[in-house]
């Protein structure tokens, strides 16, 4: 068969490519671990691990139970203690066999070089990139867009528009989320990690409207974050929110939802996921 004349609509492998069977890129489930001084911050609830505060032990457990990727968000306050992050990245890279992203307080090419050299697959940048958008261009030129994730903390205001917030959600800006996301992608962001502040912590579901708006207007993958409380919320964020990946923290840490069970549910509901 000539590839030039290849008609994908007639190829059997494409007929099922948009649902839970067949072949094709799958939707990703990403647990997020908050790190402070090299330890996980939020309490976790696993009987099978010895040290609930050790991010590496938790990371291994997640990777063995169906997580597609991991995000480590460093919330360490002081620069001195941030050095523990590099040591941690080294230990994670040596011990887990799935991709992982490191974020939190990253503001320079040097910061990123150090994390990537020590084994991080991607980095996520937030406030520093907003204040200095050329950082995105520098990072994508130096390391490639594939490892540059732009994190946006977003809040829907009374005018029904979504705005960008900085400094962990403490500082409001007048910039609309969609505008910043488009600019960031043009500068070289390879993925968008969108957190809805309205939904975060509510367990009432993801922000479907802004997720869908970003996902359908951007050429890069969108990771939805904030609000996961049930398996149905994940189904909705993929079906209605058009997300490429979904991130959650506490519902996984407290075992309210197990990743393998979630993926089986999604698969039954015709969403392509990686099952073992």
């Amino acid at each position: 068969m000539s590839l030039e004349n290849f008609n994908k609509s007639n190829h059997p492998s494409f007929i099922n490519s948009s649902n839970g069977s067949g072949r094709g890129l799958s939707k990703r489930i990403i647990p997020c671990l908050d790190i402070k001084d090299g330890r996980t911050v939020k309490g976790i609830n696993f009987e099978s691990i010895r040290d609930a505060g050790d991010p590496v032990e938790l990371a291994i457990l997640y990777s063995e139970n169906g997580a597609d990727e991991l995000v480590f968000l460093d919330i360490t306050a002081t620069i001195e203690k941030r050095k523990t992050l590099v040591e941690l990245v080294k230990r994670i890279a040596a011990n887990i066999n799935i991709p992982f992203t490191v974020g939190g307080g990253i503001s320079s090419v040097e910061d990123v070089a150090l994390l990537l050299q020590n084994g991080a697959d991607k980095v996520s940048v937030n406030t520093a990139a907003f204040k200095n958008p050329s950082l995105l261009k520098q990072l994508s030129n130096e390391f490639g867009s594939q490892c540059v994730v732009l994190a946006i903390d977003s809040k829907k205001e009374a005018d029904s528009e979504w705005y960008v917030y900085l400094n962990g959600g403490r500082t409001k800006t007048d910039t609309k989320t969609i505008e910043w996301a488009k600019e960031a992608v043009a500068l070289g962001a390879g993925e968008i990690l969108l957190t809805s502040m309205n939904n975060d912590g509510t367990k009432n579901g993801f922000a479907l409207d802004i997720t869908a708006e970003l996902s359908s207007s951007l050429p890069v993958p969108v990771i939805a974050s904030g609000g996961a409380g049930s398996m149905e919320h994940f189904k909705d964020v993929f079906d209605i929110g058009k997300a490429d990946a979904a991130l959650a923290a506490s519902i996984f840490h407290y075992k309210e939802i197990e990743i393998l069970a979630l993926k089986k549910y999604l698969s039954v509901n015709n969403i392509r996921v990686r099952l073992k």
């Binding site: 590839l3 072949r23 799958s26 993958p221 490429d244």
Partner: protein
Amino acid sequence: MVAIIKYNAGNVQSVQYALQRIGVDSIVTDDMASIKGADKVIFPGVGHANAAMQYLRDRKLDQLIVSLKQPVLGICLGLQLMCKHSEEGDTNCLGIFDEQVKFFPTSSSADQKIPQIGWNNIYDYHSVLFSGINENEFVYTVHSYYAALGAATIATTDYIIPYSAALEKDNFYAVQFHPEKSGKVGEQILKNFITIS
């Protein structure tokens, strides 16, 4: 000893860690004699084809790689550089494989974005590299360019179009995905490569 070719593209450390996890010692090096004398050579890489080829030519690593006689495994950009030509920066590559490297065509489906990032299936194997690997296993992949299907294709993945997930010719092997980040499946593929005699 396995030599991992050190160059300015990508995260070679991850490959070394993955080999460690399956109990295989390796060195990361750009020393000609060490590469030539290794039992196996791994040629990894993430980055831009043009910049990477320039780096290899400057150090004459391009001539070295094509002259190697032991099993060689290219990963991701490594696979693309082992092909004849890449559309990325209109780059002439090593020419080990005749397959052409092209940019993904625009998809009619809005959910097929470029780059492809995430887990996709591999199937239709024609190599010992995939011994013990079930049809349609998931592997982790990140790329905007792909090697077309051709004579050297030993595994296929579908994304917008079907493309070469892996290539093989003589002692040269290459995978578009990242076995070092593909869980147990990736580890088995690395083990298979290591045990090629």
